[in-house]
Symmetry: C2
Subunit: 366 residues, 2 copies
DNA sequence: CTGTTAGCGCATTCAT
DNA sequence: ATGAATGCGCTAACAG
């Protein structure tokens, strides 16, 4: 149980001024190496931990990072957060979590963003799947506040830092795979169209159809909600149509919705993949363990999280030093600013398992 | 884009002192109602948001709540966090997230806890499944720092506030159900034994066996890791045994492990539930959509999260006012302190689906 | 290279 | 019931 130590205590022990201690702690260059070493040793020995609060007050911005996530129940959010958390915990920053799971997404989100700004609590913002509220984030970015989006940027004009997956390419690959398997009537269950990723995945689906010269049948497209129940509802809608109008394959915009399709298929006594081929999107951990194992498009979540948080950390450091540089007008900053690659699109990959019918199924009754 | 407003600005606009504004903002009783109303109006109009940072510095403790979670990839964590986040967002508190997913659980955890204390950043701590590190938390609690555990308290001597589920009862119900279905050789895949819940669930399993006069077979008990791959590995171990020694039913300590059992069953051409009955624990959202749908023990996660965070908030407020009361020695605190119910055990419920064989399965081939 | 000092924005205490 | 004044712990500017 470490007792409360202030920077003054350390200064006293090291027989230097608080200014020097502060300089050491913040890695300022102009400190005598010996003094620095001595101070660091004392800091270590005493187990001194600086007060983020006080530091924040002094600088006007804290060593905290806001993470804005949509529904916390999406498996992808966990996966993303995992790598984000791992990296942040190596730094002196902490994660402040905001979720905008509530119904009034739009309003709620801008309120949260205002709050983040006004309280000046956090140094930067990582927004996962911002959806429509991305435009609020644009404002932030334009005002010089470090922001990084994970997927789902929604305007072409965005020059906002962004890390995402190749949703369109993934959907294209998935759909093409179904086509190559001989399917002609391929249904698409979209995600909620308020998300850019849903549009992208739909486009990829259309791309593949068009490439194969297949006509797009509007009755084979439904908008889901990314959740199992939504997928189930959409699938029921397909299965209740007259036989010739039914799809022989379904491309679901998320694994969760694919699970719903499986449930619906069972209700209708449809075998997967014999009677219906199915492909999902995300590659949730559970998907490999479904019966049949779900063919899906893998998103590189760990990578996305890592890249995004590293980018954000970089932007934050940059904006800090930017303020410092005002006072060192003589020199140009050595470090090249990251104006070049603020956007990163990571590839997705098709993971072929049983539900699409490409593999021989380990039938339960073989 | 709200501009930075200080309490001083508000004071100037309202033509009062900062002291008064501060009193209003903190709901101190001794303020003229009219003045209060006027100030509140101005605060509203100007969109003033107090700086958590500065407030924290002044008081020595922030309006932040640390949440300590184990592996972020466990679905239950998402579900728990969901209700926690919802409630916290209604308050003036924010959530700071710490995960201890890394391998060196033990060391890492105490480091995180020290950090939480030393930085004095947060006002309270909510620890989800603390496992072995619960004893560090005990220290915190004994030093008067508000702490609430969600499940997995590990010592009987804990007088630490705690909210949990009836793991033992749930496991008992699940196992008894299998017994009533006629199974005699029921395997148990435990969670990692560093978690108290794993022990509890195992005890419930034993309870049911004993009640039925069934002998406990050590070869039918394996320790998993809560993850699908662990469950799969354990199940394989069962299935490779000579036929008479194999289980006819499996009780898995988590749904995720049950998924692994399903995969293993498929490898061995075992039908569920015909050749093997299966029950899980947790009721993850996906579980209803497995094929066959998983019979499992539902944990009341939303409730648990809600109760826990409310309790913590309560404790925090209490410790705040405790400090104030030192100066009002004349009066006894009106509010009864929550010494009575710091521990809450919520019931679990058995959700019967297909994998246990109790329901008629919608067979794929009927 | 280093010591000194003035706030950062707020809660709180002491006067009134 | 309220105004004025103090300090929380730290950083950054200034002066050596």
């Amino acid at each position: 149980m470490t007792k409360k130590l202030t920077i003054q205590d350390i200064a006293r022990l090291a027989e230097v001024s608080t200014g020097t201690v502060s300089r050491v702690l913040n890695n300022k260059p102009d400190v005598d190496p010996l003094t620095r070493k001595r101070i660091l040793r004392i800091v270590e020995e005493q187990g001194y931990v600086p007060s983020i609060t006080a530091a924040g007050l002094a600088v006007g911005r804290n060593r905290l990072i806001s993470v804005l996530v949509p529904a916390l129940t999406w498996p992808l959010v966990s996966e993303l957060m995992l790598s984000v958390a791992e990296i942040v915990e190596e730094t002196s920053y902490e994660i402040v979590l905001y979720s905008i799971s509530t119904s009034n997404h739009e309003h709620d989100c801008s309120r949260v963003i205002d709050r983040i700004l006004a309280t000046k609590l956090t140094a930067g913002l990582l927004a996962v799947f911002p959806g429509q509220s991305a435009r609020h984030l644009m404002e932030l970015h334009q005002h010089g506040f470090p922001v990084v989006l994970i997927d789902d940027q929604n305007a072409p004009l965005d020059d906002i830092p962004w890390v995402g997956a190749d949703n369109r390419g993934g959907a294209y690959a998935a759909t093409r795979h179904l086509i190559q398997l001989g399917h002609q009537r391929i249904a698409c269950i979209q995600g909620p169209m308020k998300y850019k990723v849903s549009h992208d995945r739909y486009k990829g689906y259309c791309d593949a159809l068009q490439e194969a010269g297949l006509e797009r049948d509007p009755t084979l497209v439904q908008e889901g909600d990314f959740m199992p129940s939504g997928g189930q509802a959409c699938a029921r809608a397909f299965f209740t149509r007259p036989l010739p109008e039914r799809p022989t394959a379904v491309f679901a915009g998320s694994d969760l919705m694919a699970y719903g399709v499986m449930s619906a298929a069972q209700e209708f006594r449809l075998r997967i993949p014999e009677d219906l081929a199915l492909v999902g999107f995300d590659d949730n951990p559970s998907s490999a363990h479904m019966q049949p194992a779900l063919t899906t498009v893998r998103q590189p979540f760990p990578d996305m999280g890592q890249r995004a948080i590293e980018l954000l950390l970089h932007l934050i450091e940059q904006s800090r030093s930017a303020r410092q540089l005002r006072y060192e007008n003589g020199r140009q900053p050595q470090k090249v600013l990251v104006e070049e690659v603020p956007r990163l699109q990571l590839p997705t990959s098709l993971v072929i398992r049983e539900s699409c019918g490409a593999l021989q199924k380990h039938s339960l009754f073989s």
